[in-house]
Subunit: 191 residues, 2 copies
DNA sequence: CGATAAGTGAAACGTGCGTTCCAGATGATT
DNA sequence: AATCATCTGGAACGCACGTTTCACTTATCG
């Protein structure tokens, strides 16, 4: 069904699968959207059954959609770590992360009780990357060392998401958050 | 029914109403609890119909329960503002607010699409109190003046809630949050 | 152009939940 | 104790969703 090993797959089915994925992705970024199978199906003019069948269930569809959004973010975090100092990577990435989350209005908030394996894995990658940024910035002397890097990472993850979920989205709030957070993270004898 | 003007109200109905309220309040603080009418009813050995009828609907019941939790918090904020400096009030209250929210594990997180008038009003009161603390602390020279007090209040409200919703609850995270937040809120030329 | 298997979607189904009904139980009043 | 309005809760109802069914459609291939 989802990936029948030796069977033929019709071209229209492949196309519809892609359409469903795009519709789900679009709905994820719409604040008040219903996020039901019916809503996704209607958005592309397909039947609900077709949308569900293409992924084997609603959860799998949303997992694919969220993963697709998250993947470039994770890649960006890794690229920044490789390209520049941890301090600069942290500052740049936090700003971009906030912009991303604001644009998609908290990709998290309506995903309460769902099981999204790929998304969970990507989120773990993201946490690891931020953790590396924090540890690097500590070594570079730009982040205080009296806090556990793990705890700091958790703190950033949770608060950034909360700020991004503000309704309506506010650039002023995001800026204030970054200002307070980064100042608060500086060593005590900072410039 | 809920408050029949001239009619008699039986004592057992009054008692059951109180029991339902207590059960709902208890469930609000249990992380994974179902928060359904059925669950509330079973907790006190009543029928679901009785629980709902006592308040005229599930929303009203939860509104009463959440309000009951929130009311002493709001009063405490007001008391602190009257008793001491805004700076001290802000510091003390933030710590207490975080402890409260952690204890009740984010009273917010399962209240998504519900209409809770009394709770909303209390939250507005809370926001106003924190705003007064921020404004006062600015005048006292302990909080930076380059951020809008309104925005700062929103920032605190959203991030504090997010920190309190951490699963499992972590005192270390809460402490780190307070440290970073309060340091980040200090004037730039701080001690 | 058949023939055949894959794909489709309206309708049916199952589940979970809040709410409402109503026949019987119970507290209040005389 | 008798009477009666109030209260109760199991059952039925309505609604929202995700999922499954199945008669029908359509792409694909010889």
């Amino acid at each position: 069904m989802s990936t029948p090993a030796g069977a033929r797959r019709r071209a229209d089915a492949v196309r519809n699968r892609q359409l469903a994925l795009e519709a789900a992705t679009a709905l994820l970024s719409e604040p008040g959207a219903a996020l039901t199978v019916e809503a996704i199906a209607k958005k592309v003019g397909l039947g609900a059954a077709t949308v569900v069948r293409a992924f084997g269930g609603k959860d799998a569809l949303l997992d694919a959609a969220v993963s697709g959004l998250l993947e470039p973010v994770v890649r960006r975090a890794r690229d920044l770590l490789a390209e520049t100092t941890a301090t600069r990577a942290l500052h740049v990435f936090l700003r971009e992360l906030l912009a991303f989350q604001t644009a998609h209005h908290g990709v998290n908030d309506r995903l309460g009780g769902l099981d999204l394996p790929a998304t969970t894995a990507l989120r773990a990658d993201l946490v690891r990357a931020v953790e590396e940024m924090i540890e690097g910035a500590r070594r570079e002397g730009t982040v205080r060392t009296d806090l556990d890097p793990r705890v700091t990472t958790t703190l950033i993850g949770r608060t950034a998401l909360a700020v991004a979920q503000a309704q309506p989205p506010s650039q002023e709030l995001a800026d204030a958050y970054l200002t307070v957070l980064l100042d608060g993270l500086r060593p005590l004898n900072a410039p």
